[in-house]
């Protein structure tokens, strides 16, 4: 339940700009899903909000204050999990809990960690395994469990269900929604990067689409309590179907525009005859 506001946010690694002119205000308790082409800057935006990359003091505020470093207030699930390889998967959750709940004893911490692991469909016998001995999806779920466990008011999730099968993913989507909804008036604010339009439609109160580098927000959509899709309406409600097509089209256009730009550039550079792969495709 922290609000996040970006005011003409700009960021680059070195000289190369990744984000430029990003304006957005998320109210406390919003569930914001980020869509956008691979490499457009979604992870970068989450890293900025998390305080892992330095932003300009006037351009990014969380909970009314400038972000000047990471904190327990902002839980994060990294795209590449970020589990500590020298701890068992279970200890990876426990150490996070210990930071938040300093007065808990070992037993209690472990109980709660186990409960979180179970909530994410992870067996107790995986708890004592080292990350290197887990499957991709298991690692991802442990990383998610760790982020959930610290119960931060702002949750930043970078494609947290990307490595999961359809069924497990659906179950976890429900878990996230439940977790968020159970907050009632004190709902967490969530930024959730996904590459699945359906996932965004199912989870988000607000959907953002990021454009080409240097990226800005090229499309936003907000749901009201009434218009928010559910698993039941996702593939039936014409409004939702329409929105899905629109979102897909926007990303598609953006990609093709970029391919075109690259092609023209190349043509100008060396009059190459090769046709870009992305231009050969007329329709998906």
């Amino acid at each position: 339940m922290l609000e996040v506001s970006m005011d003409n946010l700009q960021f680059g690694y070195g000289k190369e700009l990744v984000l430029s002119g990003v304006n957005y205000k998320a109210k406390a308790g919003d569930f914001v899903c980020l869509l956008g082409q691979s490499g457009c800057g979604k992870s970068t935006l989450l890293r900025l909000i998390a305080g892992l990359e330095k932003s300009n003091p006037t351009q990014l505020m969380v909970g009314g204050k400038h972000v000047d470093g990471p904190s327990l207030d902002r839980g994060m699930v990294f795209q590449d999990y970020g589990l500590f390889p020298w701890m068992t998967a279970g200890d990876n959750i426990c150490i996070a809990l210990k930071q938040k709940y300093k007065d808990w004893d070992k037993h209690k911490t472990k109980e709660v960690a186990l409960e979180w692991a179970r909530n994410l469909g992870l067996d107790e016998d995986l708890f004592d395994k080292y990350p290197m001995n887990l499957s991709g999806g298991q690692k991802q779920r442990f990383a998610t469990a760790r982020a959930f466990a610290i119960d931060a008011p702002l949750l930043l999730m970078d494609e947290p269900f990307g490595a999961l099968d359809a069924v497990t993913k659906a179950l976890l989507q429900d878990t996230v929604l439940e977790l968020w909804q159970n907050g009632k008036e004190k709902r967490k604010t969530i930024f959730f990067v996904t590459h699945s339009v359906d996932e965004a439609l199912l989870l988000a109160t607000d959907i953002l689409v990021l454009g080409q580098a240097p990226s800005k927000i090229i499309y936003t959509h907000s749901f009201t309590e009434e218009t928010k899709p559910t698993r039941g309406t996702l593939f039936t409600d014409p409004a939702v179907l329409d929105l899905r097509n629109r979102l897909t089209q926007i990303i598609y256009d953006e990609i093709n525009e970029k391919a075109l730009r690259v092609k023209q550039q190349k043509a100008a550079d060396k009059s190459s005859e090769k046709t870009s792969f992305f231009n050969r495709k007329k329709a998906m």
Binding site: A50, L52, G69, P70, S71, L72, R74, G75, M76, F78, D80, G82, F84, P85, W86, M87, I95, A96, Q99, Y130, M132, I150
Partner: protein, 252 residues
């Protein structure tokens, strides 16, 4: 016993080859100077006679070694972690670390004797110094190159400094630090040769140096063999501990 032989068959084979090679080079063909490289049989026969002296030497050497090494490990890892984590500090102190480490420890004996109240303290200082540079260097290198994702995760969890150090920084850096520690251990053995040249009445390097001065190279060889056996044993223990700490990196 059968299992032992099987597990260590390669080790035993190499040992046998080395032994035969030495015997061929000395007793059989006399290629090597018989003065410096005595017959191994002669050396082995000396063992009962010198075992007492060797054991006394072992004890006094171990006292120097353990004290110096433990102090070196603690001080170097502490300092190295601090320097490795703070890139500003690192930039400023690195030239001085290099400058001080350039001073050859064997030439520092007069200074050590002058500055320390007892000869034993001076000896410990010299061993400490050599081990310190090695562990400091590896620790700084190891801490510097910790994958930043781990530090990021730690900072998101707002870990207190101490916990961050012991739960994140040191484990992440431990593979390299432990390589440094094992080299430092070997080097400490080497430094015995410097540290036991003054004020000592016994010691493994003292033993070797003593009989070397009198050209009793058979006894010297015995001293070398004994020292080697001790180091192999210590390293075996060290490796076991290291293996336990690093089980999470084991690939095969």
């Amino acid at each position: 016993m059968v299992k032992f032989v099987k597990d260590y068959s390669g080790v035993i084979a190499i040992g046998t080859c080395l032994l035969i090679g030495y015997i061929l080079l000395t007793d059989v063909f006399g290629v090597l100077s018989t003065f410096l490289f005595p017959s191994i049989f002669k050396v082995i026969k000396l063992f009962p006679q010198y075992i007492g002296q060797l054991l006394t030497g072992l004890i006094s050497s171990l006292f120097l070694l353990v004290t110096a090494y433990v102090l070196a490990a603690i001080s170097a890892i502490t300092l190295g972690t601090m320097i490795g984590l703070k890139s500003g500090l690192r930039k400023n102190v690195t030239p001085y670390i290099y400058a001080f480490s350039a001073v050859p420890v064997p030439l520092l004996t007069p200074y050590a004797i002058n500055l320390f109240p007892t000869f034993q303290a001076a000896s410990i200082f010299l061993i400490w110094l050599a081990a310190f540079w090695v562990i400091l260097g590896t620790t700084i290198g190891a801490v510097m190159s910790i994958d930043k994702r781990y530090l990021e995760t730690a900072s998101i969890l707002e870990m207190p400094e101490a916990e961050r150090l012991f739960k994140i920084v040191l484990p992440a850096a431990s593979p390299s630090i432990l390589v440094g520690c094992s080299i430092a251990l070997t080097l400490s053995f080497m430094m015995l040769a410097v540290a036991e040249m003054f004020g000592a009445k016994s010691g493994m390097a003292y033993f070797v140096q003593y009989y070397s001065d009198f050209a009793k190279f058979d006894v010297v060889m015995l001293g070398f063999l004994f020292t080697s056996a001790v180091l192999v044993l210590i390293m075996y223990i060290f490796d076991t501990i290291k293996h336990r700490i690093l089980h999470w990196t084991i690939n095969n």
